[in-house]
Symmetry: C2
Subunit: 339 residues, 2 copies
DNA sequence: GACGCTGACTGAACCGGATAAGCTGAGCCA
DNA sequence: TGGCTCAGCTTATCCGGTTCAGTCAGCGTC
């Protein structure tokens, strides 16, 4: 099956290649009647423009890139990324942009991918995930002048545009809620410590616990996997002054924590209250369903994509705030027993 | 930052553009000494070929496409796709191919995407997921002559290449295992009925149950979501002759089923044995950990990607078999109580 | 009726590689 | 020494769009 080119359209419509190009792009230079005729011919013979030729002459790839840097073993389990991707994708495909995806092992590999994409002109811009403190990717992208939007922050994003959500406020609200239920010993199982949002949440946790005089507040670090989340929970629940409530930095660790609690003979929420960050269907899957800090992740992704397209179009890099995660109380939180 | 082109390399190496092209592509036409000099210059100035220009003149996009057709609400939850994608990706990036991803609502939209990708020459080939019985995508792709590999089967893939795993054998093994434990009333919570692999598993289930004379065997249909899986389990466990073992077509439904059983006061595996299809970290997250039918999904994806690249390279469309899922017994299966 | 002006369109030059065809000089042989 | 081959290049053309500089008809204007 021979693919029609712009020349075929031009010939059939009895005009030049240039006129067809103007017509297709909504540029002035052709009369309305001619434009309609050209568009009709294009539709009739099933013409679509070669992305390669367009990229070459218009110097735009029509694609944006997303490099995922989490190790393969955690990548699949959290629903977060798939939700994010589907949101990004919805926004992009609505504007006929393609999404190019690459899984990388570490930040060096990721920077190498950015460099290659830049050199190959394969993408018009990139979305950056999992912002770390002192993130080496930021200066690398600034140097390349590759349009980018960081998903994360606030802070630490250099001169790049970013989309962020107020995790500090969400965490504060959660601790206040648990404190209001009567909890005094609250623990937090955090994600990887060098991620920027872990840092932000940790600072907020420390601050609110100090303010509410929760002296037994403790944060332990983990790596977002169920294994580590379970292990951390086991340690916490084995301590002399075991917490009566635990906040987990993702849903997978929270579910693992719930299992560990049940395995150790504790009832949830009677003996232990559990809050999960990232409200996904997983949280409603288990018994009791988990109280969770949720937000519309697909919308977050769509927001970031929109922002990136704006940057690609030459608008100044802004830092826009997305929805703040909100607490959805379910069956896994209650006043501590014996209050 | 100005991006170097092949002309810059040529000038600096004191040769023509053509010579550089030959050198970069490992073609004959330049001496080994010159080739090395050119490659050194290219590395030195950080040159990489424009994917657009390459695509235009070599008529190859350097990318393959993957359209995901599951509704957004189930997409994120199952770890399956992320694992598949990371496997596909590993294989592609090793050969400098890019992965273009698109999320679509239904098969019509998916076919439209294929048509657009074909017209835009945006991808060299596509991977097709979630094969259905009488899948309209197959003839559409055959008509477009867009290289494709179907992930699924056997059967129903038309003239397209495919990579499949022997789900029938895996299911048979599982039923035999449960029967050997002493189970006589085995139920199966299946995924969407019009998926080809659901059909294959259902046929195998019927056959083995008949052979083993398990007259109470029953299959109920679901949609892969936790909600539906839980609901189906509740129905099954409320029936007069409730099953003593349930096989779930994915991990998410199995976990939901486990919760429902516990919520109804049944112990697992004492009162009910549970087997999950797709062994993911989720299965080890819950208590008891789930006996599961697992396979290396990333390897499956890599296998499919390799196969697609072969088809793109002009090799005949083959139907290759991947690893058969194998049963990993864990804490969720045991002989039925009161045997 | 010569002039300028505008809208509608054409022709040709690009974009950055791949590649077929052409050229050149060294090496070899008769 | 002339003729031939062939490795090792160069040159030119092409891929399929975008875009800029013209061309030209038609119209109003003084």
């Amino acid at each position: 099956m021979k693919r029609p080119t712009i020349a075929d359209v031009a010939q059939r419509a009895g005009v030049s290649k240039g006129a067809v190009s103007y017509a297709l792009n909504g540029q002035p230079g052709v009369s309305e009647a001619t434009r309609q005729r050209i568009l009709a011919v294009a539709t009739e013979i099933g013409f679509s423009r070669s992305s390669a030729a367009r990229a070459l002459s218009a110097a735009t790839a029509g694609a944006i890139g997303l490099a995922l840097c989490r190790p393969a073993r955690t990548l699949g389990v959290e629903p977060f990324f798939m939700a994010l991707i589907s949101g990004v994708e919805a926004e992009l495909s609505a504007r006929s942009y393609a999404l190019t995806l690459q899984v990388v092992a570490d930040h060096d590999a990721e920077i190498a991918v950015y460099r290659r994409w830049w050199g190959e002109r394969r993408v018009d811009g990139v979305l950056v995930c999992d912002l770390r403190t002192d993130d080496r990717r930021i200066p690398a992208l600034e140097q390349l002048q590759l349009p980018a939007v960081v998903i994360g922050g606030p802070g630490g994003t250099g001169d790049l545009a970013s989309v962020w959500s107020d995790d500090a406020a969400a965490l504060t609200e959660t601790v206040e809620y648990l404190a209001a239920l009567g909890h005094r010993r609250i623990a937090r199982v955090a994600g990887l410590p060098d991620l920027r949002h872990t840092e932000i949440r940790t600072d907020a946790f420390t601050a609110v616990c100090q303010r509410l005089d929760l002296v037994d507040a403790v944060t332990v670090w983990s790596d977002y996997t169920g294994e580590e989340g379970g292990r951390a929970t086991r340690r916490l629940l084995s301590s002399a002054q075991r917490p009566t409530a635990v906040i987990y930095d993702n849903d997978v660790m929270a579910i693992a924590g719930l299992s560990v609690a049940q395995e150790m003979g504790l009832t949830v929420p009677g003996d232990l209250s559990i809050v999960a960050w990232d409200d996904s269907p997983l949280c409603r899957l288990v018994h009791p369903p988990l109280t969770a800090l949720g937000r519309d992740i697909a919308a977050y992704g769509a927001h970031a994509a929109r922002q990136l397209l704006a940057v690609v179009a030459g608008q100044p890099a802004g830092r826009v705030q997305d929805e703040t995660p909100h607490l959805t109380p379910r069956g896994s939180t209650a006043p501590p027993r014996g209050r």
